[in-house]
Amino acid sequence: MAVVEVTGAHKSYHRRGKPPQKALDGLDLSVGAHRVHGFLGPNGSGKTTTIRALLGLVRVDSGSMRLLDRPVPEDLPDVIGSVGALVESPLFFPNFSGRRNLRLLAGVAGVSRDRVEECLEIVGLRDRGEDKFKGYSLGMKQRLGIAAALLKEPTLLVLDEPSNGLDPAGIREVRELIKQLGSDGQTTVLLSSHLLSEVQQVCDDVTIIARGKLVATGAVADVLATGSTGDVRVMVPGHQQAAYDVLMAAGFTLTALADAWLVHGVTEPSTITRALAAHDLYLSELSPISADLESVFLDLTAEEV
């Protein structure tokens, strides 16, 4: 069962005196259960609009959306109790303490005060719970937003840029938390982030969008594979020239690096090992150059942006 399902969603914003601006252009999105799903796209690609539409804040012009196997926005009141969300910056009363802000939200859904304390503990704010929200650092505000999203013990957690404003230690903690939630077998996390490394480190699956359209989706490893370079770094100490001759004779294309060769178009790296060993040349390094999500993302969205 897909926890989030968006099919053919269109949304345009109309501004007086200006042409309509397309935010979603037939977007499809499917998020599997109990996974951490990254949601990537350049600024203005429609990520936040999609999340807002799923949470009933924005109406799509056409297309269908389902949350927890229920159509939304029609059945949103029935499923919202299982959805926790942090969308962009946390929205709290600045003059209320963190604890009071959480208690007010908890009161709406009948969440206990114990749970408020638990969530403050989870995000490391229990000792600062009585401080006013406006006195919090950006990172503390973000943590409180995460705490609010966790209050309902959601089965779907929607996090929009959760690492914003966090220091490196905080970013690592948030990532650990997301990983733990994703691996507890009960929670699905939809993580919208502009930090490609974050998605690569934390997510099981990823969807990349640009200009309101789906560009790529699947397991992170599979999406990375689509951008694989096929380049392999080869080092044969003391016999670099001999290795070059052997590999050229075997039909490879090479580029010289400072202390190694970069072999291009390699589908199976073991063919390099076999070719060199046949001439009594032995490797000290054979490193496939794998694509990172950043390069894949830039490749995939280059035409769209």
Partner: protein, 343 residues
Amino acid sequence: MTAPPRHAVAEPETRNGSLFRTEIARLRARRFIQLLVGLALIGFVVLSIVAFTQFSEPTPDVLADAQARLEQDIALSEQFREQCLADESIPEEEREFACGPPLDEQGFVVENYIDKRPFTLTDDLPAGSLGVAAATAMLGFVIGATYVGAEWSTRSIVALLFWETRRLKVIGVKTGVAVLAGAALGVVGQLLWLGASHVLVRTRGSTTAVPDGFWSDFSGQAGRGVLLAVVGTLFGFGLANLVRNTGAALGVGFAYFAIVESALRGFVPKSQPFLVSESAGALVEDGGLSLFVEGPTVDQGTGSFTEFTEMIVSNVRGGLTLAAYLLVLLAAGTWLFRRRDLH
């Protein structure tokens, strides 16, 4: 951060939250609202102290002195009229008109000859109640505006929709809380004034008995005063919800009362019965509001003059006019809140 514990909690379907209770808590916890109410209470205490200095129970000597001056004035007036009627320089047929009617001694009230008159229930209690109604309506306007305006400024109303997605329910509950806040303001204001009046009448008041029906008339007026406080709160709430900002709502309110109403009274006098201020007065004042509406300018050869027509705007009409404006304001805000994309 620590690992999130998972244990048995109520399922979302069985959680028994209360948006209403939460909204009441939000309202009560707002620092600015607490400050406004605190300032209003201080203002009430100060005005009560001032009132104590303005009224005084007259001593027998003061009363005797006032009575003597009253009788002196009556004698002087009668003397003047007799001299006037005897004045032959005035044509006889014009003397009655020129010298005025015979003296009505009931028009001379001894309290008018006392520097600090006593506090009287019949005159001062209803007058004060009107003032309290106006003050609580204005205070309610600001509280209603800041209550929902702050939600828009901090966008916490959007965060609330992550918990309760039915927008009509959210705005309905908030409107209900605004009504309750306005009613509480009005009731507390009227009760405080009643208490202060009780003290004033015991220490600085006239012991004259109140006429029959006074308390029922006063209760009606005080009740309508509470209603005006509710109306004021809802106007502030509705306006701030429409423009999504406390400051803008207060600005619009100020511009309307200071500029628009003044201009309409000056340039379109017939609009007076439809103005918010006049309707508010008509709603609360016992018997409605008496307005003098400017009529046509007449010239019968002795110079032009403008005819004025007295018009009574009843309690019901004043209330219905305000209700119509409120309905439009709240309906427009609710419709936009339901339809708008929220960012």
